[in-house]
Symmetry: C2
């Protein structure tokens, strides 16, 4: 008899009807012969409501108290789900992050899991119970309640699946799986049956919002098979597994070179102009930005001309003003000519493990964009991804044309 | 420097404005030189809302999961209050019942406190912090989350005050203190400066809703001085202390014989008619009722006539139907003639430590009711209380006439 970890996001447990539907699914899973551990997020917009309440009582809520506050959300959903399961005649028991043995560091608001002591969960499961665990939360080494940051419930689920040796970690959400592109922009986008951990990481990092980056990293590092699927249709979704794992010959032959086109319009571009091209200059710039707590994403440096170069990078749009203040000092320190910011950009990325063995993908991408009259402002690549920064207005057209050009449209 | 435990009920922390007002008060208390531990209930009607949610997902929510659910309420209020205090520049730290070391038995929904391990609170206070503790909740000896039942936050506050050796336990609520009668019925009712533990116990048991019975018992058993007062006016309220404690001669002289008139219209009367008067008959009746989980309050047995007697008792009105079903069997088992129930009754009680040394109080009470044309259906007494069961329609008139007759009206 196998063990499944099933995670249900906020929209999956948004109201009593949804909670009863999830309870029904857990009982069915159990009756079909699997042991099951459920991980739940807070109901619907509960977390946002609590954040708003905090803002109403304090200008600068402390991290420890914020975590204490927010963890009330999963406490409510997990207790309700547990009641609903028991009401169907299936024994169940709920556990807070602390009771589930999710031990974290002391970094409130974005704690990292150090250890999972799954004893109480293992005992409950071996007694035939459905164990229901609060996602997103843990207890720190100094016995304070912590949260794992946005998307933390996915990480809880994957970490539990790893610790318990589960056969799979099913992430139930409000979409049917991972798509070749955002279906709101590309109506012909297809659901992928399978992507590799590395592809999923690249997708998550470049705008695919189905899974949080950290949970995918955790799954890859511990080789936890993840199945992303819908709690509204319960249809099979997308498997995220090791590359080539359990793929038969036919599947492998049919495997597309490109898995998907992602896009992100949440960033801004910053360029420092004509900075002297000498060793250590990039280190100076990005150490200053890191110390200011600015999360720099893509970095591109052009070739040097006459001892000077331009360096461009992207930052989250909300950080543009802080970045600009930082840049004023950096321009002086580095003896650059100046800097420019552009908030009207977007990034379009092509992700696919097949790139490693198929040359010419980049060229075809640039040709496709050129034929659409789209100007490329920055380029960066990894072994399985090519990203282009474009004008924001060009993003949707670029995504659609690349999706068609690489044969990702439905027949 | 003394230590105060200050407890704030649901109405005192009902919204962000109220939470900031309470935070302000805590900071002022601290700046005036006292160490302070705050105990909070859930905000406003949060607990009722959570109970309703449970009813929406399960027909019979389990006790363990219900406690897990309900304890989310104080988690929210305590974290918010802690943030609000810190926002005023005063260090604060919140503790769940479990973190505060409130250890209980495993009786979910109405757990009893077994032990208070106050180490973390003591440490926080000695570091100059305001400790903010979740009321109503604890952790059981089997490491599950428990609640103490309605009014449990008062018990948490008193238990903490006892364990920490606090100078006083201040119970902040939405009334100004303990009154000689319910001011909504008797506009001339006066706020009492002081009542004894025994008087408060009798008042709480007979309809005075200011403090939960269990918390008063706990305070008496551990001799914790309790000060009931308003978090809306912050005016001095009513002290509940040992009888004659710290009373000077003048106060003692002015001490009234009667402290107050209480009433309760939440009960129904049940009479078993002409039951054979033989040993063990009462035991049979009330054991059966106890096993059915019916909480019998007042019991009166009349003198026997021709080997038969009538026994009357009161039960909470919502239990009348269950009681009636139980009585059908009891009537058969005891060979009684039948039974009758009456939901249109009320109880009026006179409470006062002075009764012990002043004879004739009962006679004056019955005369007063007679002169108002009020018929007495049942009578029961303790050393410091006389209770009469009356027709419900007579209750308000009875309370007002007794309040006047015993000189409790304001000058």
């Amino acid at each position: 008899m196998g063990l499944l970890v099933q995670k249900f996001g906020g929209s999956s447990v948004a109201d009593p009807d949804r909670i009863r539907a999830v309870a029904d699914h857990l009982v069915r899973t159990r009756r079909e012969g699997s042991d099951v551990v459920a991980v739940v997020s807070a109901m619907g917009k509960t977390t946002d409501d609590l954040v708003r309440l905090a803002g109403d009582v304090a200008r600068h809520p402390g991290g420890r108290e914020m975590d204490m506050l927010l963890t009330a959300g999963e406490r409510i959903s997990m207790a309700l789900l547990s009641m609903a399961v028991e009401d169907l005649g299936q024994p169940a028991v709920s556990f807070t992050g602390s009771q589930a043995g999710i031990v974290t560091d002391t970094d409130h608001g974005k704690a990292k899991i150090i250890e999972v002591r799954g004893d109480r969960i293992r005992a409950a499961v071996s007694e035939g119970k459905v164990a229901i665990v609060a996602g997103f939360q843990g207890v720190s080494t100094s016995l304070d309640i912590t949260t794992l940051g946005r998307g933390g419930s996915d990480t809880t689920a994957v970490a539990l699946a790893a610790a318990l040796g589960a056969d799979a970690c099913e992430i139930y959400t409000d979409v049917e799986g991972v798509y070749t592109a955002d279906p709101r922009i590309v109506p012909t986008a297809r659901k992928l049956a399978r992507v590799s951990f590395d592809e999923m990481l690249e997708m998550a990092a470049t705008g695919g919002r189905v899974l949080a980056l950290r949970s995918v990293e955790f799954a890859r590092n511990h080789n936890v098979k993840v199945h992303v699927r819908s709690s509204f249709t319960w249809a099979p979704g997308t498997w995220i597994t090791e590359e080539d794992a359990e793929m038969d010959a036919v599947e492998a032959m049919e495997q597309a070179i490109i898995s998907g086109v992602t896009h992100d319009t949440g960033e801004a571009k910053v360029t420092i102009e004509r900075v002297p091209d000498r060793p250590g200059i990039a280190a100076t710039i990005f150490r200053d930005l890191a110390e200011a707590g600015i999360n720099v994403d893509m970095i591109v440096q052009n070739v040097s001309s006459a001892g000077h170069t331009d360096i461009s990078f992207t930052v989250p749009r909300p950080d543009v003003d802080r970045t600009a203040r930082c840049m004023e000092k950096i321009v002086v320190d580095t003896e650059a000519i100046g800097f420019a910011t552009d908030e009207h950009i977007g990034r379009v990325s092509l992700v696919g493990a097949g790139m490693k063995t198929h040359p010419g993908i980049a060229a075809r991408m640039f040709e496709t964009l050129a034929s659409e009259g789209v100007n490329i402002e920055m380029i960066s690549t990894s072994t399985i991804r090519i990203s282009c920064v474009l004008a924001e207005d060009d993003v949707e057209r670029a995504v659609r044309s690349l999706h068609a050009a690489f044969g990702l449209d439905k027949e």
